[in-house]
Point group: C2
Chain length 594, copies 2
């Protein structure tokens, strides 16, 4: 077995014990909140059939799906598909005959051209030949044989082999450039004629090679090859597998179906800081319930989970697709809704002037922008914004419906939470929010922390036809997602991970010699019986080594057992943080560490 220097695939990560404890803390916190709100966990396989995933994420998304190579002799399927192609080339022997016919025509043309030249110029002139070879008809005839360059090559090769070459003569035209320049002054028409015959004679096998090369290149085209050698892929998100799950298990599901799912997804994105090829998504969705109570509860779930994680200043942004549709409608450009939202989504980054410029580029007029301005620059409290919007959108039924939905959500939140002024300031109606517009049909969510510069740490929305792609129509879904990796970075930066969440083994029993080890064994078991995570250092070693082991593992207590301790039954309990040592009997230690 050869030794491989180990490495990890680009964009993937190991998680150390310290990291796992922190990650589990985030996941457990979020899961606990999901459960409290009645969401039940499901899991789907990492692999889905390729056809389940393709076409669901757009062309760009499709390219980022990790495909799994068929196992076993997967090439037999390629051969099944490739060999008929090669066979078809054999059948195409007939086209070779066609080619030979063309070649015959061509040689007849050459012969007659030469004859014509000779007839018209009994003392033939090299200049005349030049002109004739440059004529359009001549080139057209050469082009009829579509392996032009190969013919040129063999032709020159032939001329070289005749050893009559002197690099000073005829320039047929610029397409013969280099080779043309090496033809001999003394070169005669008959030689040219023979040269072309030689070319034609060779070209059959040449032509076949070219055909097969083209065929091979075509065969090895990604789009053609992939479906033959890959039928499965790693999931790209949790939403499409969830839709697939709902459709497949629709008869076993009690709707409305409230599920949460915390599993990794894979994307063949170019890895960069904060963007990984394998990362976890934490999704909660409810399917089969149009009630806006669900949207309101998602606001509360965000609020509760993030607050529990120790975040203090974050914003839960909310918008509604119908409001965006209403705005586009009022301007009279409903078809440009995507262009409009893409542009105004950039307000934070490029300012009003930038947005205006982009809107113009995307087909809006100055007059449109004047109408849009009050919407883009919407200010004030959520209520004030809603009042302004209602007047702007008074002529759009869709727009007013969107406003109504937002109001209902706000009302639900207010009635659920009667005394939480903080929550009220956390929710923000943001008309520029447009994420995932292509499939959201109702409310849209996005969560940002204001304590650390970081993209969104959560988002979601409602899509009225979640399962339609799998043939189950009119099932509405609404869901949210937590960005666990980003939340991790935020908590790390703000130093918000509780020390209790970082604790593995609570106590290490030292091991200095066999006698101490023997003494320690029943104590070890007693500690564990009291559910105290504990270890006996597995073989005798120097104090320093055992202490640094405890340090490295963040073990907060060490029980030191030496000769004195064995005789007195008073064991030394060392607090690793303070360095303080105490002499206690076993029962006291257990009581203390419980």
């Amino acid at each position: 077995m050869s030794v491989t220097k180990p490495s990890l695939p680009k964009g993937t990560r190991d998680f150390s014990p310290q990291e796992m404890v922190k990650r589990n803390y985030i996941f457990d916190t979020i899961k606990t909140v999901f459960r409290k709100y009645g969401y039940a966990e499901i899991q789907t396989p990492s692999m889905e059939n390729l056809q389940t995933l393709t076409g669901k994420y757009g062309d760009e998304g499709d390219k980022l799906i990790f495909k799994i190579l068929e196992s076993g002799e997967y090439t037999s399927d390629i051969n099944k598909n490739l060999l008929p192609k090669i066979d078809s080339l054999i059948v195409k022997e007939k086209t070779m005959d066609d080619f030979r016919e063309i070649a015959k025509d061509f040689s007849r043309f050459i012969a007659s051209t030469i004859q014509k030249i000779k007839n018209e110029n009994p003392l033939y002139q090299k200049d005349f030949l030049l002109i004739n070879l440059n004529s359009n008809t001549f080139l057209e005839d050469i082009k009829r044989i579509d392996c032009f360059f190969e013919i040129k090559y063999i032709f020159v090769k032939y001329l070289f082999s005749k050893k009559t070459v002197n690099p000073k003569f005829i320039h047929f035209n610029n397409r013969f450039d280099y080779y043309g320049s090496i033809l001999n002054e003394d070169f005669c028409f008959d030689e040219i004629y023979k040269g072309f015959l030689y070319v034609i004679n060779q070209s059959k096998s040449l032509r076949r090679i070219i055909n097969l090369e083209i065929s091979a290149r075509k065969l090895l085209n990604v789009n053609e090859l992939t479906p033959i050698i890959s039928k499965k892929a790693l999931r790209y998100d949790l939403t499409v597998p969830f839709a697939r799950y709902v459709v497949m298990h629709q008869n076993d599901i009690a709707f409305p179906f409230k599920r949460f799912q915390v599993q990794p997804v894979w994307r063949a994105d170019r890895p960069q800081k904060g963007r990984y090829r394998e990362f976890y998504q934490c999704d909660a969705d409810v399917v089969g319930s149009p009630s806006l109570l669900n949207e309101a509860e998602f606001v509360l779930i965000y609020h509760e989970a993030l607050s529990k994680l120790g975040l203090k200043d974050f914003t839960i942004k909310i918008n509604n697709r119908k409001i965006l549709s209403g705005i586009a409608e009022i301007i009279g450009k409903p078809e440009l809704i995507v262009d409009m939202t893409v542009a105004i989504d950039k307000l934070d980054k490029i300012g009003l002037d930038g947005v205006a410029k982009e809107l113009i580029e995307r087909g809006f007029t100055e007059a449109d922008i004047e109408k849009l301005k009050p919407v883009i620059l919407l200010q004030g409290s959520n209520i004030e914004k809603l009042v302004s919007l209602k007047s702007v959108l008074s002529a759009s039924e869709t727009g007013l419906k969107g406003i109504g939905e937002i109001e209902t959500v706000f009302n639900y939140v207010a009635k659920l939470v009667t005394d939480n002024p903080k929550l009220t300031t956390q929710i923000e109606l943001d008309i520029t929010l447009a994420r995932g517009l292509n499939y959201y049909t109702g409310c849209i969510f996005e969560v940002k922390t204001n304590e650390v510069a970081m993209g969104s740490i959560g988002g979601g929305g409602r899509y009225d036809d979640l399962t339609g792609m799998f043939g189950l129509k009119d099932l509405t879904g609404v869901g949210i997602s937590f960005g666990a990796d980003r939340i991790y970075d935020v908590l790390e930066e703000l130093n918000l991970f509780p020390t209790s969440a970082q604790q593995g083994t609570k106590v290490l029993i030292s091991n200095f010699d066999e006698a101490a080890e023997l003494y320690a064994l029943p104590l070890l078991q007693q500690l564990r019986e009291a559910s105290i995570a504990s270890e006996l250092y597995p073989s005798s070693a120097k104090l320093k080594k055992q202490m640094s082991y405890a340090d490295a593992k963040n073990i907060p207590y060490v029980i030191l057992i030496g000769e004195e301790e064995i005789q007195s039954n008073l064991l030394t309990l060392k607090d690793m943080a303070s360095g303080e040592q105490q002499k206690l009997i076993a029962a006291e230690i257990i009581e203390r560490l419980k």
Copy 2:
């Protein structure tokens, strides 16, 4: 977007909320025990570099690794590797000339043969031709042209085209079988000769096609193609990624390193009942500690985790590779240790006679078997077995070392657990246990339940050179694994899942109209503030529908809020199991459900 009827890849599974609760119960129980014994969790990426995995699981294992197709324009790499091959075929034009030379020889041979026949038989006989064509020399010459069958084909095609065919004549020999039978009686030697010339004339292009076909087939060979189009694969187990992890992070790890890992693995095995292509492994390993205390603690971990899961009658089998080596050594056939263990491992299934028969087949003598018998049929308590073994293996240093290791493990267990007679009966020294023999070097474990017919539900062992494959030598490792899927089936069959483990939402608040919904909202929030998982049915609906929702979701309580309840503030709490209903104020309900 076309509608896809959804399905799952073979051998993969969805897990419903009910299943997830049970699976989490198993995982959480095992993880809690791992943590109590000082094991810390790590996770590794689902994908590993292909070279990290290949060669670690044997040829059969390598085939079962799921490879991931390179993303992007992965075919460009094939083309880079394929096209030079096609080019090399073009260069091989020279071999075509060689072929023509052979063909010329061959036609000369035919001509001279015919001439010879004519000379010797002025009135030539068809029978004579038959004999000559059947002669070894003739066939040898045909074989010199190695596209024998194609030549035969074209030859017959030629004969057909001459329209001189009558399907009643010459059988050249059985290799010409079918075609031979259709040759014409009036067929003359000259025609045969011309036929062969025709064949030779055609064979150049034929030969090229065949060459390219062979080349294409070769190109599309799995072993050659896979490394070009796949550089990553899904992990096959948790052990190799763990070894990779240890080597990569060796400078950050405090040894001995006790880690556990609960993650899915993927194998392209043929799916069947109980065997999946994606399944979870639950592993605990310690690396860098030769102490047999680790082995003893693994026995306790098995005992504790399985007991906590409610299993009562299970056996923790233990063996030691060194004992098996000692036995093979005593018989004088150390090189046959694998054959020996494979055979005696089958004792349960095929009995002593079967084992004896297989041992003979595998190179042992009757005398060897006589020596083996007392070992194979070892009876009695663990101590009695050890006593017998000691006498059998008295001449083998290795064997005695293995016995010593087992004794040390037993002693550790006895000293850790002083009053658990059950545990003592659960441990069984089993000399026929050999799983994973190829890499285990010390103790070997296997756990079986005796309550349900089922394969092993756990196993493991010590391997002295865990990380050597990645260049870090002499780091000993010992580990165990729990078979979570099998444990799931066992618990299900024995009905051992606790009902408490199955609980998601604890209470559903009914929703009959807007007034009731408004009344319910603050109550819902109060319940959640008291950490009671609760739901309000998200829109008003008939009682029956809401009750069956609660039933389907196993929600144990429903709060019914009608007009009367709103007026009296006395809410109806329905116990779904007993059907009992009680009128209580909100605070009482919260107290009750806490």
